[in-house]
Symmetry: C2
Subunit: 195 residues, 2 copies
């Protein structure tokens, strides 16, 4: 059965990027510690968790801002991102009312006007794998609020950013079930059941 | 040596109370899950963590709003709070420019005009025990921002509150060191080195 997972790295003060994030500044200014567990860890647990989520990805959902970061020249390449890590290269559903005229990356991007439809289409093609909602913050918040995801996975990094893109803005109150807590040397990997 | 610990329970979206918190509504509306680990847990780890911090308390620092919650008729009593749990009953330093005319609780409250002085006085009397900065959110944020604490302890509860009192508002960027992660069945107890 396909599980829909909202999966994102977050600071101790709830930001998913530092300030001034944009296509050429994906993690925002000073936001690099959010991805220490991805890029600079020598803890095998971090590598295991990254590999597991990549392997489980039957389809991926993202917002337009995140797409713009990924598809920018400074974005994913042969060494970084799904293009590098995932031989199967799942389809990527991008929520946008305004699909881009050109796409740099040679990946299977599909542009969809709204989040529920993107997740529905992602589930339809994920087969026996899972759907990963990978951000940004607003897409994760919407997907949790609307009960569109089964799991919320947070990679909690030991940094206070002070400003940036918040994960949760005026979310709907919701009690979750804490299911898995896996601390590595660089982050705490948290899994919650949303429904 | 005395360690200064900022210690508070927080939701997944970074709130230390739900909305409409006040003297008779300490955790705010719907904020009860923040203290499930304190009051409704059957996990011995939660009891151990609560007992350890109480036993380690040589002095406690709090803001005025938190004092008003604690000293209200619905606040601490013989069954709840330091009055019940701590035979030694440490002195409590309350940061306020406007000390109350009357105090209900028969505890050692001392009113101090600013946070650095409160922490300094608390350290002076803590002996070989520790100083706990117990809230609210603004006092914790100020104490971390100013580098007045050695450790930040967060009890992360599996709830999204959507509104309430934020822990961190426009904090200063700071990288911490993740030192201890202890998941119980009701919360994740996180300890970070601040300096």
């Amino acid at each position: 059965m396909t599980t829909v997972v909202a999966d994102i790295s977050v600071s101790l003060d709830g930001f998913v990027t530092g300030p001034d994030a944009g296509p050429d500044n994906g993690l925002g200014t000073g936001g690099e510690p959010l991805h220490t567990w991805v890029f600079e860890s020598d803890d095998p647990l971090d590598a295991e968790i990254l590999a597991r989520s990549t392997e489980r990805s039957g389809a991926v959902v993202m917002g337009r801002n995140l797409f713009d970061v990924i598809d920018a020249p400074s974005g994913w390449n042969d060494d970084m991102g799904y293009g590098a890590q995932h031989a199967a290269r799942p389809p990527f559903f991008v929520v946008t009312h305004d699909p881009p005229a050109d796409v740099r990356l040679e990946l299977d991007f599909r542009f969809v006007a709204d989040l529920p439809t993107a997740i529905e289409q992602a589930k339809a093609v994920a087969g026996d794998k899972d759907v990963f909602v990978m951000g940004g913050g607003e897409i994760i918040r919407q997907s949790v609020d609307a009960g569109l995801v089964d799991e919320l996975v947070l990679h909690l990094s030991p940094v206070v950013l002070g400003a940036g893109t918040p994960l949760f803005v005026a979310a709907t109150r919701r009690e979750l079930v804490q299911r898995e807590v896996r601390p590595s040397r660089t982050a705490v990997h948290l899994t919650y059941d949303v429904r």
